[in-house]
Symmetry: C2
């Protein structure tokens, strides 16, 4: 079973927003055995939308459409869908009630354009949007399903979870798609490929292996396509075990989760706590950690020590250390992580200090120079990294490197404890 | 002049990565007067890639292709492009030298698959990729330009900036596209639309107005299309002035920059400093601020006070305050922002404490309850917000609300100073 996703809106095409909806929708569809054939972003333009609907429905059975459902003039998805299906519009009473409720709650005057948000093409089944003023819509034509939802992420997510996915499961007998992912760090894509070439060559044609490199990490993804999810899972697990054994040295986790979540889970299972001191990463490491619900059992907090004064007053870094070695140095990084262990009373600490760029470099410490230190209560280690000259990328790379260093230290400690 | 972007790779279609490249590419193309007609994500599948190339080149003159250039077997873009153009492959010596240099630098063994990364279709002009092992490629056929680049964001960005964009500017006589953006906060999309309906109706057909709502903010974007950038800018500025006057109450900035950057610029111009205390936002506010180069003139740092102990030890929040009113309370929020001013010696402070969810709510303080406090050296204000039950969204909404509260306080202080 194939789906296509069409996102409608000039804001994506001029690059003013990044389309995060499509990745989320694709994940959800995959989980119920629907593969996405193509994702297309088109403009708020009648003919372009009609053409995209034609092309997508020629390739797929499920067409998911997001965006263009706002109350303003540039939003034309609804009337274009009515034209596509050659029908008129009708008012949906239940949607109107929700819209009235929202305006009453926020005590805002209800305008004509808001009332018209309850209008939908005659042939649609309304998917009630309890989080917003734009109703979701479900259409069926010639055995194909078209689902139109607002582009606001949380409204779209609600409609997918509560309405679209359960209905798709009922409508179609879905084949099985099984993915298994191995996360590695500290090794290149082509080196990995060479290591596992024979395993890759031995894969049956309905199981594919993909390499997903990203900032010092490589995800290996096995994807199987078939009729029986259980059989498929068994088959994939055989190949997964072969891969795991072969790349054990670089393996972070064999579950599809982010690096930091793997660390949080390991620390939580061993009742370990973490605090951080972030200079050049400026809160990014803490943010990455605290995206995850339940992280508070592990993560105590930290200091964003952007200025040298804060490094000294909040972390106890010595003035003479900064004066003598500089804020970006092994000594400062180590005093930062040591200061974290002391002040935050955590089992582990991460400290990062560097020059994220694009300015601020010197000949000895060019932009991209980053010192990372990790510590436990007995040991402080530090390592120098030389990244590039892109600020955001330097911040992200620093975070990944810090997580890998932390994981290595924790693993070593746990092994020592075992022995 | 129209372009299309094709991203190749199953990882986007199964939702394992979000396509951030396309938005960035679209922005860059827009700046030189090339509009993006469609963005399509297709799979690592020969026929699908060929079809996408056909469709895109029927609509546009410039086709930008990213992804599928890795050394591994799932990457088939290069040989598919050779098939599309009916040519063989050749080895590019300059690319091979770069690849050899990279492997020498990291002291890694060079494999056969790495050597083959220097192979390109015979009809292409190589765009030298100095940041990676996959060369960029420039093709011309029947007056159309095809540009293929790796999907790794910083490699793609380098190739766009250094090679593709300068060449496109040389190749085509480009029309002008001018965008102007007004950022508003604290008011709904349809209310805004009602306020400016007459201005919108009076726009000439070559100037369009779009509404881009996002988490309590609405961007109004005027886009003009024409021959002469200067004339177009003048015309757009007339309409922009009308809009600015009409919505002055809700206007954050009339330059296309993010909310936090507008605040940083205002604070920098007035030599003001900021520090933060983040509980439920967990570093996100600091991260959003420190994405911006040069923020260190304003931003001193902050505390991620995830645990109550840290709130007390690092911010001076009283134990009895947390015991009596709870960690999520007006009193705690105010003591946090007051503690920031005191400990970090900043001119302004932001403090956020709340229940981001999905768990941890109570009947009196359900998930989504957030107290935000902002302070200067003389004044501490706090406000309660009730967001929804999505963690990431609650974190983001808290940040936006905190920024708006901070901006209000700073503006009031500056006006007072003026009078």
């Amino acid at each position: 079973m194939l789906a296509e996703i069409i996102t409608i809106g000039d804001e994506i095409l001029i690059g003013q927003i990044v389309d995060t909806n499509s990745a989320w929708i694709a994940q959800q569809l995959n989980l119920i055995g629907i593969a996405v054939k193509q994702i297309s972003s088109v403009s708020d333009d009648r003919q372009h939308i009609l053409k995209a609907l034609d092309e997508a429905s020629a390739r797929a059975n499920v067409i998911i459409i997001t965006g263009g459902l706002g109350p303003t003039k540039d939003d034309i998805t609804k009337k274009t869908l009515a034209e596509y299906f050659r029908v008129g519009m009708k008012q949906d009473k239940a949607s109107l009630e929700i819209i009235e409720g929202i305006f009453a709650k926020y005590n805002r005057p209800m305008l004509e354009v808001n009332i018209r948000q309850a209008d939908v093409p005659e042939n649609c089944t309304v998917l009630l949007n309890k989080n917003g003023t734009a109703p979701g819509m479900w259409f069926e034509e010639s055995g194909k399903v078209f689902i139109s939802m607002p582009g606001v992420p949380f409204e779209m997510m609600y409609l997918m979870e509560e309405e679209a996915l359960p209905r798709l499961r009922k409508q179609f007998t879905l084949p099985a798609i099984v993915h298994q992912t191995l996360l590695t760090a500290g090794v290149g894509e082509s080196f990995l490929a060479e290591q596992i070439a024979d395993i890759e060559d031995s894969l049956p044609s309905h199981i594919k292996l993909a390499y997903l490199p990203n900032l010092g990490q490589v995800r290996l993804r096995l994807s199987g396509f078939g009729q029986n999810a259980e059989e498929l899972t068994e088959q994939i697990n055989v190949h997964k075990s072969q891969l795991k054994e072969r790349i054990s040295k670089y393996l972070i986790t064999d579950v599809d989760k982010p690096l930091e979540k793997a660390i949080l889970d390991l620390m939580d299972a061993n009742k370990l706590t973490l605090a951080v001191a972030e200079s050049c990463t400026g809160g990014y490491i803490s943010h990455v950690i605290t995206q995850h619900p339940g992280c508070s059992s592990v993560f105590l907090g930290g200091a964003i020590s952007y200025s040298n004064e804060v490094k000294q007053s909040m972390l106890g870094v010595k003035t003479e250390t900064v004066d003598r070695f500089g804020a970006v140095s092994e000594e400062t990084a180590k005093e930062m992580s040591g200061g974290v262990i002391l002040n935050y009373k955590s089992d582990y600490a991460i400290a990062v200090t560097g020059i994220a760029g694009p300015d601020g470099g010197t000949p000895e410490k060019p932009v991209g120079t980053v010192w990372i230190s990790v510590a436990n209560k007995h040991q402080v280690v530090a390592k120098r990294f030389q990244f590039g000259n892109k600020r955001i990328q330097n911040i992200q790379r620093s975070a990944v490197s810090a997580f890998v260093m932390l994981l290595d230290l924790i693993k070593a400690d746990l092994q020592e404890g075992d022995s």
